[in-house]
Amino acid sequence: MSKEERHIFSVMVENRFGVLARVAGLFSGRGFNIDSLNVAETHDKSVSQITLVTHGDAQIIDQIYQHLNRLIDVIEVTDLTTGTHVERELLLLKISTEDPRKRAEILQVAEVYRARVIDTKPSSLVLEITGDEGKLEAAIEIFNTYGILELARTGKIAMMRGGTN
């Protein structure tokens, strides 16, 4: 067994109902892993993009690539991890400000993570943070010490650097 690696696939699909089920069904049916999954329409309304993070050894990754390509509704599959790419994730955090003395401190920490405050209430505020996985994990860890009330995370989106891919 060769060693397991994390891969990010960008999968361009027809924007039709049922396509996501085909992609997800392929993973569950063949025992492949999905670490995160993100789906959205592209600038071309007939095309959706699925960004899919998975892991496995080289043989499994090749199988995932081939089987994704085999789906009729899949237009193009790119393994972004084979080249240099950028990846981002969006995190929303609702943090308790029951203790008003902590509020300023929270805002200072938010500054460090370039977080934006997108909602404030007397007892809570909502922060928006983007970044790669490491940054978001670190942010979650630190904000947890103030009390995270709610957390929402998009999963990764990614693209190749430069060129036209």
């Binding site: 699909v13 027809e14 049922g18 089920a21 085909r22 069904g25 392929l26 049916g29 043989q59 090749d62 199988q63 081939q66 089987h67 390509n69 085999r70 009729i72 509704d73 899949v74 237009i75 193009e76």
Partner: protein
């Protein structure tokens, strides 16, 4: 402008076959108001269809007139236009099937598919074959496809009709058989409401079909039919589902069949990469112990001719898998017979010693390879396959070639010569002579292998359709196949009950061939009801039951691996299949002694106005050998005899 009377219009109409013509009658009355009446004739069916009022507008735009110029106001003017047909979704579907060259459609009727069955009622080009169970319908469509290479078509209603099709769809999927399965669906407005006989067929069949379509509007039908057939028969072939809501079957629309199908996300690679083919040729040249390993893909790609050329050009020994039997004549000296669990020792030993394996349309199935760690350990591997996901799935490959077997072999044939491998060829001959398929005659029992040998003797030109179990393996071992599409069996899914309905499909597809069904007592009774349509259609099927009163293959495993604990395999409560055949209305014979085998086979030959069932009561506990136990390496084959 010419004057065209109603009669002349009709004359013109009938000159154009299969077109729909609208006739617009304009009458002006004395006050000058124009009264328009429109009638439409669908020439092919001579049925007058009422046009949809909302369509009148769009027709007018395309009207071209042969109008009588007239000053008089009371003269009626006949106007006609050639329009795109306006038909119901069900009729569009049937029209699409005709365009795809469909001869037969196998189905069982039911509520949500009634408009389609109705459209087929007075249809002569596409013949509706009513089966007795939807599983039978899907296997019959499958058998038709396997025997002819054309797309088989099955039809069922929603819910239970659709779920009954599922086994047949999965069977076709596993063996890459081109098929279109059409299912009725509840009305669009009820979809998702757990309506009566609603089932999410698209969901249920997602992992067992190449693609599927849920059709909610009659406007989609023409395109979907064309796409479905295109997908089913190109690239890696397979079943495609069309699930069509009842209201979409009923609603009428103007439509046009697409002339070509272009799916932007579907571009199968049919031509092999020349550089890879050159690499393969170089490996073949270097090899000292090469072997060819051909599978069902060769049959599906109609590449048997090219495979023969490759084998004869190179003089390299060849093994053909259970799915590929007939792709290369088993009677040829270079043929090693099939490999794998119940394959020939020769083929299995060859894998173990080969230094090059050239796989063509074969998929290194676990029933062929045995323990992967011990499979062809010394061999480099070349793998030619239409499906890139198949390459490297089970076994690492040195030279992958994605492409259609026919194209790739044609190119490869240009680059190869006779291989200089005499010692290896001699070794193969030695194994072949030393370890043929063999069995021992026990007392005065009818040995199952003997029955197959005799069937081969008397029906060597037949299409053989086998079911699943020991009898299937014996048929594969003792019948010598020489031509593609003469051996049909469910190799991938191993579906008991496949063979009788598949034989019906094969016989309809190949009316001039004799179709022999080699069945097991357990398998036969799983789809025995399909004897009814076979009798109704007077199909001269030869149904030979290798009756060991057991689920024999499972019993063999219980004998070898479960201390003879015969759990749920004892079929001594079988009915008398000969009498049962007679009750159905077929000829039924029973054979209990070896000396009666041949006379019965000869008698069956003479009965051609319907099916003949022969119940061969064979030795109950005979086992299939050689055998590579599950999980063992091919070299560890148990030869069986002492």
């Amino acid at each position: 402008m010419s004057v065209i009377t109603s009669q002349r219009v009709l004359f013109l109409v009938f000159c154009r076959s299969k077109r729909l013509i609208s006739i617009v009658n304009e009458e002006r009355n004395w006050s000058g108001t124009t009264v328009r009446s429109v009638s439409v004739i669908y020439v092919n069916r001579n049925v007058l269809l009422k046009p949809h009022p909302s369509r009148l507008q769009s027709w007018n735009e395309k009207v071209f007139y042969f109008q009588q110029p007239t000053a008089q106001k009371n003269v009626s003017t006949t106007v006609y236009e050639e329009i795109d047909m306006e038909l119901s979704g069900a009729h569009i579907l049937v029209d699409g099937l005709k365009r795809e060259g469909v001869e037969y459609i196998f189905g069982v009727n039911g509520g949500a598919a009634m408009p389609i069955f109705d459209a087929l009622y007075d249809e002569t080009e596409v013949k509706l074959i009513p089966m007795r169970h939807e599983q039978g319908a899907s296997h019959a469509a499958d058998g038709y496809a396997r025997a002819t290479g054309k797309v088989g078509v099955a039809l069922a209603t929603s819910g239970p009709g659709a779920t009954n099709l599922v086994t047949g769809i999965a069977t076709a999927y596993m063996d890459s058989i081109p098929m279109v399965a059409i299912t009725g669906q509840v009305m669009t407005e009820f979809i998702g409401s757990d309506a009566f006989q609603e089932c999410d067929v698209i969901g249920v069949t997602r992992p067992i079909c190449k693609h599927s379509y849920l059709v909610k509007s009659c406007d989609e039908v023409a395109d979907v039919v064309a796409e479905a057939f295109h997908l089913a028969r190109t690239g890696k072939q397979g079943p495609v589902i069309i699930d069509i809501a009842k209201d979409a079957q009923r609603a009428e629309t103007i439509f046009q069949h697409p002339d070509t199908v272009d799916i932007r996300s579907y571009k199968p690679q049919v031509n092999g990469d020349p550089a890879q083919i050159a690499k393969a040729a170089a490996l073949i040249k270097e090899a000292k112990c090469p072997m060819l390993y051909a599978g069902g893909g060769v049959v599906l790609a109609n590449a048997s001719e090219e495979l023969r050329k490759l084998t004869l050009n190179t003089q390299i020994p060849i093994t053909v898998t259970l799915m590929g039997l007939g792709a290369f004549p088993e009677t040829h000296p270079l043929a090693m017979e099939m490999p794998g669990m119940h394959g020939s020792c020769c083929a299995n030993y060859a894998f173990t010693d080969a230094d090059l394996v050239v796989a063509i349309g074969a998929r290194f199935d676990d029933r062929v390879t045995g323990d992967l760690g011990k499979f062809a350990p010394k061999a480099k591997k070349i793998h030619i396959d239409i499906d890139p996901s198949c390459i490297g799935k089970n076994v690492p490959v040195d030279v992958p070639i994605v492409g259609d077997a026919k194209n790739v072999l044609t190119e490869l044939n240009k680059l190869v010569d006779t291989a200089d491998i005499d010692p290896w060829r001699n070794q193969i001959q030695e194994w072949k002579q030393k370890y043929p398929f063999e069995y021992e005659q026990k007392g005065n029992k009818v040995m199952p292998q003997y029955v197959i040998e005799k069937i081969y003797e008397h029906y060597s030109d037949a299409i053989v359709v086998a079911d699943v179990g020991q009898h299937q393996m014996w048929a594969a071992q003792y019948f010598k196949f020489t031509d593609p599409r003469t051996w049909l069996n469910s190799g991938g899914l191993g579906t008991m009950g496949f063979s009788l309905p598949a034989a019906i499909g094969a016989q309809l597809g190949c009316p001039d061939k004799t179709v022999v069904n080699i069945n097991g007592d357990g398998s036969y009774i799983m789809t025995i009801q399909e004897l009814v349509p076979a009798i109704t259609m007077k199909l001269p099927l030869k149904i030979f039951i290798i009756n060991n009163m057991y689920l024999g293959m499972v019993r063999q495993w219980q004998e070898l691996f479960h201390d003879k604990r015969y759990s749920a395999v004892d079929y001594h409560d079988n009915p008398d299949f000969a009498l049962l055949a007679q009750a159905f209305g077929a000829t039924g014979l029973r054979v209990e002694h070896p000396e009666d085998v041949e006379p019965a086979l000869l008698k069956a030959k003479g009965i051609n106005d319907g099916p003949v069932v022969i119940d061969f009561i064979v030795d109950e506990e005979e086992n299939v050998f050689p055998m590579v136990p599950a999980g063992a390496g091919l070299g560890d084959v148990i030869r069986g005899l002492s």
